[in-house]
Each structure stands twice: as C-alpha cells, then as structure tokens.
C-alpha cells in the first residue's frame, strides 16, 4: 500500500520543482521507496507460503473491486526489481537534458507506482487497472521524448498492448463469474473458480495473448523492436526492464492458476512459440546494426527462454524464470544505459559508425564488458544461474526443445560479442566521438548494476529463497491442494 502511494505523491511533488530539484526529489523518492521495500523484505517470512502484508479497502464493491494488496515471494522479487530498477532509471536520467524534465520524472514515478500496484494487487480488477495505468505514462514518455517516427510507433504499441489487455479483462471477468458463491475478484477466490473444458482453454488463451504481447513472445513481438528503439533511454529501460516482467508475473500468478483445468497441450503450443522466438530473435539480432535494436531483439530472445521455462511449470523452471526475470531486468537496463552513454558521446547508435571506443573509456569498457557477459550468461554473472535453471527445465520437459532453446547460449554470444567488438574494439573511427570520463551518475548507475550482476551470480539463492515457498505453494495449489 505504502509502496503504491509514495511514487504517486512524489510524482506530484516532482512536478512542483524545477529541473535539478525535481531530479533530487525523484531520486529521493525512489530511494525511499527502495528502503521501504527492503523494510518489507526484512519483515518478510520466506518460509510462510501465504500472501503477506495483506490489506484490503473497499473501492467499488458493486463491481467486486477492492483495493486489496499483499506480497508473496514471487511478487517480492518483482517489487525488488521494480524499485531497484527505478532508482537506476532515475539516476540514469541525471545527465539527460530533456525538455520538460519534471514531467518526464513524474511520469517515471507514476509508472513506478503503477508497476508496484500490478505486483501488489491481490484483486483481479485492481491488477487490471494498474496494468493499464502503467501503460499511460510510458505512452507519453515514448511519445513526447521519443525519437524519429515516434508517433506511429507509439500508436501501434499502445493499441497492440491495449488490445491484449482487453482480452485479459475479458478473461478476468469470465473467471469472476465462475467464482464460487458470491462472486469475487479476490485472487484467493478466483483461483477456486470452477472452469472446465473449452472455457478454460479460452481463458488460458485470452490471458496468454495479453501477457504474450506484453513480454513479448513470438509472434506478438512486432511492436517491440521499434518501440524500444524509438523510446528515450529511460523509457526503453522501463519497458524492457520492468514492464515486460508484468507479463511474466501475470503468467505465473494469474494465468496459470486461473486456467488450471485447461488442457496441458496448450502449453506445448506456447512453449513451441517461445522457443521459436528464442531462435528467431537471436538470428535477427545477429545482423542488426542499431545497438538498441540488437538489445531489443536479444530481449525477445531472452524472454522467450524465460517464457518457455516458466511454462514447463516445474519448479526449476518457475524458479529459474523468476530469477532470470530479475536478472534480465538488471542486465537489460544496464545494456540500454550503455547504449545511451555511447549515444550521448558519439551521437549515433549505428554500430558501423563506432569502433575503438575502449581506448578512451577503459572504465566504461570494463563495466560494459561485465554487463555484456551477464547477458551472455557467463559464470560469475547472474545470467548464468537463471539460464541454467531454465534450460534444465526446458530440457526436462522435452529433449528437442531443450536443445533448441539451448542454442540461445551460442547465438547470444554471437550477437552480444559482435556488439561489443564493433563498438569497443578495432581501430578508432574518425567521427570525433570518444567515451572519455564517465560522470558520477553514470559510474554509480553502471556500478550498481555490475555489483548486482556479480552478486546475484555468486549468490543466486538470495533471490531464489525469497520466492521458493511461494512457488511451492503455487505448484501444490495446481495439484489440487487447498491453499496452505
């Protein structure tokens, strides 16, 4: 509850102040938010499978809409990611001089509030409301501060995702109407909904398309590369770092339990789609020349793996998916920030125009290297553990699928190293741009990311333990056991 309110108040506050002060206000708010989050975490009982810190206020009882919030392990990981990421994102905007910076920051804060709302909601309708609410600020962020051709692209992005969410709404209402007794949108009631046969399949597909568009899973991904490219750096970070996780969270928390009676054969289709997406996006990423596009496609590929892993619905896959969501969030923010730093300095994102940047930016090269390696899933970095668990899950699900999705470790190396090499290595290009010294905010942002990359890589159980009991609970719930 507090987590939702802080950003909104801060968003209003930030509007009052001028540029520099607004930045300070926004940063303070996000740090405060993170601290609150840590306080919650410290009081969080990882051994308790129930949803904790629950609270509920009536909002629109006629519609079954209650302001119900609560945190379980899965949500806790997502909240951590959101609030860490928001600090990073605001910090990363420190050196940007956008026109209307205050508005920009308050949009980011609104976004943070909405995202926290999504992860905190234990009421289906509230989940939907925050889900949509998160869409509006990002629409403005991309639309106002975006690059070339932004209008068309944001339009497409918005309508596409909105269409998906409407399907989700449909599914939510449908489940609501099947809840036992007095209909309710409370999660704990909705999971008891009695839906069978083809209806269940319909619900499943409606949820799936909604989440698949958000994540995005092949073939619902076509909005993504353009949007990521055109958005301002912080917008891209929000989109890829956190918003995408809404889809993953939704799949785990909402889709799966709601459509539990649907035929498992549907998941085969989903997994095949996800795996096709892994390879498809990876292959495309190999040939892209815009650094942001490469990262965007890599994101599709990585998310495909997460989706495939999750939808095996075994514990390793779920845990791996949650862990990797966290990791991917951190890494992709780092990568996009790297792209932004390069763009700030040499005014282009075209890889063919870069080269030899490592020479005058050693510290940068080093930080970039670690983030890149995290994305390639090299040991010592966070990506490794996540991919290990996910690949293990897909492999156990089906050998061929496991092998095909395993190709990602090769392709990922191919395109990420290509980016690194083209940008950082080789002789210097004569375009007057050099990395030079990084500013303190740039150092701090990348530094935090690098520390996280390594820390989670060495101690993945830090994250895994948080969600462990909740995942167990979810699995036992799916096996027909009552909520413990």
């Amino acid at each position: 509850m507090v987590l939702i309110i802080i950003p909104f108040i801060a968003a209003l506050l930030a509007l009052v102040f001028k540029d520099k002060l607004a930045k300070i206000v926004a940063l303070t708010a996000s740090v405060a938010q993170l601290i609150v989050n840590f306080i919650f975490l410290s009081g969080f009982d990882v051994k308790n499978s129930a949803i904790q810190y629950t609270s509920s206020y009536e909002w629109f009882s006629a519609l079954g809409l209650n302001f119900s919030t609560g945190i379980d392990g899965i949500a806790m990981v997502m909240l951590l990611l959101t609030n860490i990421a928001c600090v990073l994102i605001i910090l990363s905007a420190w050196d940007n001089k956008y026109p209307g910076m205050t508005k920009f920051l308050s949009f980011v804060l609104i976004m943070q509030g909405a995202l926290n709302g999504v992860f905190l909601s234990t009421n289906g309708l509230m989940f939907y409301i925050f889900w949509e609410l998160a869409l509006i600020p990002i629409y403005f962020i991309v639309g106002i501060w975006g690059g070339e051709n932004r209008i068309k692209i944001t339009f497409k992005f918005f309508i596409y995702t909105f269409f998906g969410s409407l399907l989700m709404l449909l599914a939510l209402i449908f489940v609501y109407l099947h809840t036992p007794g007095n209909h309710s949108f409370e999660w704990s009631e909705m999971v008891k909904a009695d839906i069978n046969g083809w209806e269940s399949t319909l619900v499943l597909w409606a949820f799936f398309i909604a989440f698949a568009i958000k994540m995005p899973v092949f073939p619902f991904h076509t909005w993504q590369a353009d949007t990521y490219t055109v958005a301002p750096a912080q917008g891209t970070m929000l989109l890829s770092g956190i918003m995408l996780k809404m889809g993953i969270f939704g799949m785990i928390r909402w889709m799966w339990p709601m459509a539990k009676n649907a035929c498992g054969c549907n998941y085969n289709i989903f997994i095949i789609l996800a795996v096709v997406g892994i390879i498809y996006a990876a292959i495309i990423a190999i040939q892209q020349n815009d650094i942001k596009r490469v990262i965007a496609w890599s994101s599709v590929s990585h998310v495909g793996l997460i989706a495939a892993g999750i939808m095996t619905w075994n514990k390793e896959g779920l845990q791996g998916g949650i862990l990797q969501s966290f990791n991917h969030g951190i890494n992709v923010i780092g990568l996009f920030f790297v792209a932004e730093i390069i763009e700030r300095r040499i005014k282009t994102r075209d890889l063919t125009q870069m080269g030899g940047l490592a020479k005058y930016g050693r510290g940068f090269a080093f930080l970039f290297m670690i983030i890149m390696l995290g994305s390639v899933a090299v040991p010592f970095t966070n990506g490794f553990t996540g991919e290990f668990l996910l690949l293990n899950a897909t492999f156990n699900y089906q050998i061929i699928i496991g092998i095909v999705s395993g190709l990602t470790i090769i392709f990922c190396a191919v395109y990420m190293l290509r980016v690194y090499q083209l940008a950082m290595y080789g002789p210097e290009k004569d375009n007057g741009g050099r990395i030079g010294k990084l500013s303190w905010s740039e150092y701090l942002t990348l530094g935090i990311i690098v520390v996280l990359v390594i820390a989670v890589g060495v101690f993945p159980n830090l994250i895994l333990n948080i969600s462990d009991t909740s995942v167990n609970n979810l699995i036992s719930l799916m096996k027909g056991g009552a909520i413990q």
């Binding site: 190999i286 040939q287 390793e316 845990q319 040991p379 290990f388 492999f395 190293l417 080789g426």
Partner: protein
C-alpha cells in the same frame, strides 16, 4: 586441508581484484609481483595438497555454500581435491607461475599491463575452479570462466580488428561445445539426480548403458570445443592473436587440456561406453593427422605451434579413446612443459624481432638469442620425441597403448603423425635459428636477447622438458611408472597389456633413426638448399590445400555463416517486417480501410439518409419475420 584449497583458489581471485582495481595506480613491477605471488601461493598450496595425497591421504572436500537450490536442483559450491585435480593443479599453477614471471618481461612495454595480469589471475582462478569443482556444474562454471578469460586475452590488443574477430570466434566455437556439455550435464542430472562426482561415479555401474553412452558423447562434444578438435579446431590457430604468454598458458598448457581433464574425470563413464570411446579415438586420430599436415605449410611461428598443439591434443584423445587415461594425463604434463617452452621461446623470438612472426623473414637467430636458441632446441627435440626428453616417453607410451589397445592402423597413423611432427618442428627450428637473416636492416640491428624475467622461465621449462619424461618411464627402463601409480587410483584405466620389450626396443631404435634422418633432411632442404617457403598463391596441388588448412574456414563460411546471415536478413526483412508485422498492420489497416469505405455511406444527402433509414427498417422487419 580444505583451507589450502580455498587459499589456492581464492588467492588468484584476490590477485585479480587487486591488480584489476588498483593496478592502474601501481607500478608495473609491483603489479606483476603481486599477481605472480598469488599464483605462487596457489602453487605452494598445490604442493602441500599433493604431498598430502601422495602420502596416502584422502581426497579433500571443501563445501562453501549452497549455490543454487530450486526444486530438485541443489548445487553446492564445493571443491574436491583428489589426485587428478591436484595433478592438474600442479601443472596449472606451476606452469602458470612461470608464465606470469615471463610476462613481466614480455608485457613490460604494454599500456594494458595491469589488465593483462588481472586477466591472467582470473584465468588461473577459473582454471582451478574447473579442475577442483566437486560436481559437473562447478566444473562447467570454471569451464565457461576459462572460455571467457580466453576471449578477453585473445582480444587483448583490441585495436586490431582481426584480433577481435579471432577472440569472438574462439568464444563462439567454445560455446558450441559448451552447449553439448551443458546438455550432457542435464542428462546426467536427469539420470542420477545430482551432478556430484562421487555420487555419479558410484552409481554409474547401475545406470542405463545407452544413457551413459549419450552422456559421454555429449561431454565429449564439450571437450571437442574446448580442446580444439575437429570439427571445432579452427579457433585455436586464430587464437594466436593474443599475447604470446597467453598462447603458452591458455592455448597450449592448460585450458585446451580441459577437454582431456573432462574425459579423464569421467573415465568411469567412458570406460564402459564403447561407442563414445570410439568416437573419441577417431576424432583424436583424425585431428592429430590433419593438424600435423597443416602445420607443415604454416609460415607464422605461432601458428605452427598452434597446429602442433591441436595435433598433440589429438594424440591425447587417442590415448583417452583406447582407455589409457593416465597416459593421456602424462602427455598432458609433458606437453605442458615443452609446448609452454616452445611458445615462450617463440615469444622471445617475436620480442626480439619487434613483433615479426613470419619465419620467412627470420633466420640465423641462434647467434643473437643464445639462451632462447638452446631452450627452443630442447623443446623441439622434446616434442619430436628424441629420447630421453619428455616427449619421447609420453608419445612412446601412447603409441604402445594404441597398438596394444586398438591395433595396427591407429598405431601407423600415430607414428606417421609423429614423423610429420618432427618434420614441421625442425623446419620451424631451422628456418628460425639457422641460415641467414632475412628480415629488414632495422630489425637486424634491434635483435637482442630477452631480459632475465623471460629467460629464467625458459630455462626452467627446458629443464622440465628434459626430465619430465621420467615421471613415466616405460616398462623397459623401470618398473616404477609414477604417473600411473599416482593417478591410477582415481582414473579407471582400461586394461591394456604392457608392451613387450621387443616392441619397446624397436620403437626406440626406429624413432631415433627416423629422427636423425629427418633432422638431416630438413636441414639440407631448408638451410643448405635455401628453400624458403613461398607465398600461398604460387602453390599448387596438395600444398595449396594444406596451406589453406583444408579449406576448413571457407567451408564453415559457406555452409554455416552465410546461411545464417542470409536467414537473419530473411527473417528480419521478410518474415518479420512483411509477414508477421504485415498481419498486425493489416488488421490495423483493415480498420482504416473499412472506415474509409464505410464513411462513403455518409453521403451528405438527406434523401439518401432517409432511404437508408427505410432500408434499415425493412431489414429489421425481415429479420423479425424470418428468424
């Protein structure tokens, strides 16, 4: 004892952190000394552990913490020091230490000095993790780690574009192997429910035969990538782009033998799976022959050595394939000595030649580079298999095991390879150190012997190359085969009969005679007759094929790279833009088109409106009546 493991592993890591973060602020010598000391500490720990084990102590296990736990997967971050890993540790830290010392001199003029040492330390750490990990996942952890360090070090001189490509190629080819290994680990996990060595090996006997075969093949795929075997060997010659100490440490002595270690480590599994062993044998054999023939036509001093390494690795795999695991390890050891020596020697030559690597522009260096010359000669003799230097014993043993373990064909091919090895090594030696100097005047004036930090390791390695062979004297000379006795307790060697004395003597005599002929012939051909290699374009027939390395790179280019690039463009430009996005856009456009046509209905004319209204009414009436 566990503390020594921790000390051995984490001192290099500490060295990495210190030299990486603070190296910029410290003088080069201090950085070098810190890094080298950290490896020395590891070496000392290794000796202590070795002592412990060779005195009959038990394997030491060190549990750090639970690394990953999710569902059924629970992986401990723990280390196991048994005889095999300690043996590898000794090689890694020993040779590693010498190469660190050498690098202080070699890299002295480089601005990335501290970075270089940081990477080297990181490599030592990863390599130790690889050999000390107590389960396959930790091993894989180190496995990937050394691949990453290798990438970093090959691309060390990043301003050169080619070097960058070489680094990438190495990493990606390794990754292909890694995928096999990873899947192998998954199968292991599926079969045994754990990846812990001890549990797996004790349960191996009861496991399904077919599954074990599959596991072995998958593990070997990993080994192919890391140890540069056909078809994934092309990265190793390219990896010579890295600084020479790196080539010596990573691409000759240690990392590339990780594949051997992996197979040897899994000897329990391999020994019972015939198919996998056969594959290992065949791949090793083919690689040994192919790489050796390519080496004959190479003109880059380091590339000759690189192909030689590939070839020697093939040798080791043959040994593994016939089930002589400790023999393979023996060759790993001797190879580490003489190949590190040769690389460091070539580094010294390159150092003297101001970066020139082409042997066509060398010659007559023996006068200026006395220590280098002598040590290099010893290395050459060792690799060629001149008794009683190190290479003779290990190669001899492999030949014998192959003969008794498999048959005459393998033996003949290996012997042939051995001959070719001698030919290209002496070609290299003579062209470099004998004859007249063929470089520029400037280079000639600049020729000088390397500093002591470089020559001392050379001398030490030369000594090791000379005496290394006595670790495993063949039955002809002694009944005390040290390597076999030490490692036999952890490796499950296949039962191969001891070679007869006649065989031993025959091999000894034939090899000595053959070597003498080869030395004389090559000297005559290259020095007396001044047959200096010519450029590739002028060559014909077989020579041309050899110079082009059997066109491996070209084939990969057309068969794999080009199609993927094409596919990438196709997927992006057509599939994505036109097809998938097309569908999305059409559904969007459909709306606008509908809108466009539907709005024509709104003609603006009242009469028409009225008519439309009436039509509406009639339609509804019809629906009303019909339905």
């Amino acid at each position: 004892m566990g503390n020594y493991i921790a000390l051995a592993i984490f001192t290099p890591l500490l060295g990495f952190v210190v030299s990486g973060l603070l190296g910029r602020f410290m003088s080069k010598n201090i950085t070098g000394i810190i890094s080298s000391t950290s490896v020395l500490v590891s070496f000392v720990c290794s000796i202590i552990l070795f002592n412990h084990l060779s005195n009959g102590g038990d394997s030491v296990k060190l549990d750090l913490y639970n690394w990953i736990s999710a569902g059924n997967i629970s992986i401990d971050f723990s280390f196991l020091a048994d005889r095999l890993s300690v043996w590898m540790m000794l090689i890694i830290t020993g040779v590693g230490f010498l190469i660190h010392i050498y690098s202080i001199g070699y890299m002295h003029h480089d601005e990335g000095f501290y970075k270089f040492f940081a990477y080297l330390n990181l490599f030592i750490f990863s390599m130790l993790t690889l050999v000390l990990g107590s389960n396959y996942v930790i091993m894989f952890f180190g496995w990937e780690g050394v691949g990453m360090c290798s990438y970093l070090l090959i691309g060390f001189w990043y301003t050169n574009k080619e070097y960058g490509y070489a680094a990438r190629k190495a990493f990606i080819m390794n990754r292909i192997g890694d995928l096999g290994l990873l899947i192998g680990i998954f199968v292991l996990f599926n079969t045994f429910g754990t990846t812990d060595y001890q549990t797996i090996f004790s349960g191996a006997a009861s496991a399904n035969k077919g599954t074990v075969e599959l596991i072995c093949i998958l593990l070997f795929v990993g080994a192919i990538g890391k140890s540069a075997q056909i078809p994934l060997f092309t990265w190793l010659p390219d990896a010579m782009a890295g600084p020479t100490p790196v080539s010596a440490l990573i691409h000759a002595a240690t990392m590339v033998t990780a594949g051997i270690y992996l197979v040897a480590r899994s000897s329990v599994l391999f020994v019972s799976s015939e198919l996998a062993s056969t594959i290992v044998l065949v791949v090793g054999l083919v690689t040994a022959v192919v790489a050796a023939t390519i080496a004959i036509k190479q003109n880059d001093i380091k590339k000759v050595l690189a192909y030689s390494t590939v070839s020697q690795l093939g040798y080791m795999f043959v040994a593994l394939g016939v089930g002589a695991y400790s023999t393979a390890l023996f060759h790993v050891t001797t190879h580490a000595f003489f190949k590190a020596l040769l690389f460091l020697g070539s580094g010294s030559v390159i150092h003297a030649m101001s970066g020139e690597q082409d042997i066509r522009f060398m010659g007559g260096l023996r006068k200026k580079l006395k220590i280098t010359h002598i040590t290099f000669l010893l290395g050459t003799l060792a690799i060629a298999g001149v008794p009683p230097l190190a290479g003779f014993f290990s190669k001899d043993e492999i030949l014998a095991k192959a003969y008794y373990g498999n048959g005459i064909v393998v033996f003949v091919l290996l012997a042939l390879t051995s001959v070719i090895t001698a030919i290209y090594m002496f070609r290299l030696y003579f062209l470099t150190f004998h004859g007249e100097f063929r470089g520029t005047e400037e280079q000639k004036n600049h020729l000088h012997e390397s500093p002591a930090t470089m020559t001392i390791p050379l001398v030490l390695l030369a000594v090791l190359s000379c005496i290394g062979g006595f670790l495993g004297l063949s039955s002809l000379f002694s009944h005390h085969h040290f390597v076999d006795e030490f490692l036999g307790k952890v490796l499950t060697n296949a039962h191969i009969p001891h070679p007869s004395e006649i065989f031993e003597i025959a091999v000894l005599i034939i090899s000595v005679v053959l070597l003498a002929i080869i030395i004389l012939a090559t000297r005559r051909y290259y020095i007396s007759n001044k047959n200096i290699p010519i450029s590739i374009e002028d060559e014909t027939g077989v020579e041309r094929i050899l110079s082009h390395k059997y066109y491996f790179d070209e084939i990969y280019n057309t068969v794999i790279l080009k199609p993927i690039e094409w596919l990438s463009r196709f997927a992006h430009d057509f599939m994505d833009r036109k097809f998938i996005d097309g569908i999305v856009n059409i559904s969007g456009k459909g709306v606008t088109v509908c809108g466009k046509y539907l709005r024509q209905l709104q003609s603006g004319n009242v009469e028409y409106y009225l008519l439309a209204m009436v039509v509406g009414v009639i339609t509804f009436l019809v629906i009303y009546q019909l339905v």
